[in-house]
């Protein structure tokens, strides 16, 4: 895990906890791919590789290549056994590429961008809810989700991450392909340290219930 700043309590997850979380998010992302494919009426490949952690102040280095300055992001707040701000984030031009598949591949970019906020909210709603509902179903708990909010931003000023050093970001890079076009985005879950502990308690009871630990 990428924790190199001094003074932080490093969250330590063992191999099985990371494995379980990765599988649960993959389950959610798989469900989301299924829903998105119904919208774009074509095959959608959506995969979530491994989980990493970072602090909000490290987000720029942790996440983004310098080539991606402009970002399109959707945030939802979830509350339940733990609270998390879930954020789906795409480089701006990738977001427009997804929309073009959802709406009309022949639509010029300036017209597309009119729909961007609405359509990104819908995509965010599908992907973020699918991930949280996979966790909820498997943990046997319930989360309440806020309405999705769309933000434009750049890597220099990510207003959603206020730099509160007591919060931790759980990061999943996601690869999305529609009609041979490959789009990379990120799923971020901003958790307070106490919420992270509550999440790990859920993971541990889940593993215990399955008889794995």
């Amino acid at each position: 895990m990428a924790f190199d700043e001094s003074g932080h309590d490093e969250p330590t997850l063992d191999e099985l906890q990371l494995d379980a979380l990765g599988e649960l998010f993959n389950l959610g992302v798989g469900r989301a791919a299924n829903s998105l494919s119904l919208i774009v009426k074509d095959e959608v490949e959506l995969s979530a590789p491994s989980i990493s952690f970072a602090y909000p102040s490290q987000i720029t280095q942790a996440l983004l290549d310098s080539e991606f300055k402009e970002l399109s992001m959707v945030a939802m707040d979830f509350s339940g056994p733990f609270e998390a701000r879930a954020v789906l984030l795409f480089p701006e031009r990738n977001a427009l590429a997804i929309l073009s598949h959802m709406l009309d591949p022949n639509m010029p970019p300036e017209e597309l961008s009119e729909f961007e906020q609405e359509a990104m909210c819908e995509i965010g709603n599908i992907i973020l809810n699918a991930c949280m509902s996979a966790l909820a179903d498997e943990f046997g708990v319930e989360f309440m989700g806020s309405l999705p909010e769309h933000h434009f931003s750049d890597t220099e000023s990510l207003p959603l991450f206020g730099g509160d050093q007591k919060e931790v970001l759980l990061i999943l890079q996601i690869h999305l392909s529609i009609r041979q076009e490959r789009i990379n985005g990120h799923l971020l879950f901003l958790l307070s340290v106490s919420s992270l502990h509550a999440l790990l308690t859920c993971v541990d009871s889940y593993l215990t219930r399955l008889g794995i630990r």
Binding site: L16, G22, E23, V29, G30, N34, E43, D137, L207, L210
Partner: protein
């Protein structure tokens, strides 16, 4: 009691947790089956060269070669092996591609019911 004549199931999944869950449920349902595991597609193909299993439970989303591609390769060289793709992503397009290649689907999450269904598919 398993013998070398017992049906062999190869579980391919990058998640150790998933392999453990599938293995445990199958061992309960079919105590006579032998169970082997692979953590990725390349290891699975190598294992199949050493001993061809009767059945393969194949995860789709794995680092490296996807389960869908691995399933296609297995069907090409070992058409007698019965394969079930284990995934939460059951899109019509994926399902059609898989079914035309003679591959079955088992829905994730892994539960006793979904694995029982997979065992039924193998024994059809």
């Amino acid at each position: 009691m398993t013998t070398t004549d017992s049906p062999l199931l190869l579980i391919v999944d990058d998640s150790k947790m998933s392999r453990m869950m599938i293995s445990r449920i199958v061992a309960n349902l079919r105590p006579d089956w032998r169970i082997a595991e692979a953590a990725n597609s390349a290891d699975a193909l190598a294992a199949i060269e050493r001993e061809a299993p009767h059945y393969v439970s194949m995860d789709v989303n794995m680092p490296g070669m996807s389960g869908l591609e691995a399933a296609g390769r297995i069907r090409l060289h070992n058409p007698e092996i019965k394969i079930a793709l284990c995934t939460a992503n059951i899109q019509d397009a994926v399902r059609q591609a898989a079914e035309s290649a003679g591959v079955k689907f088992a829905a994730k999450p892994i539960t006793p019911d979904s694995i029982a269904r997979m065992v039924e598919l193998f024994e059809e």
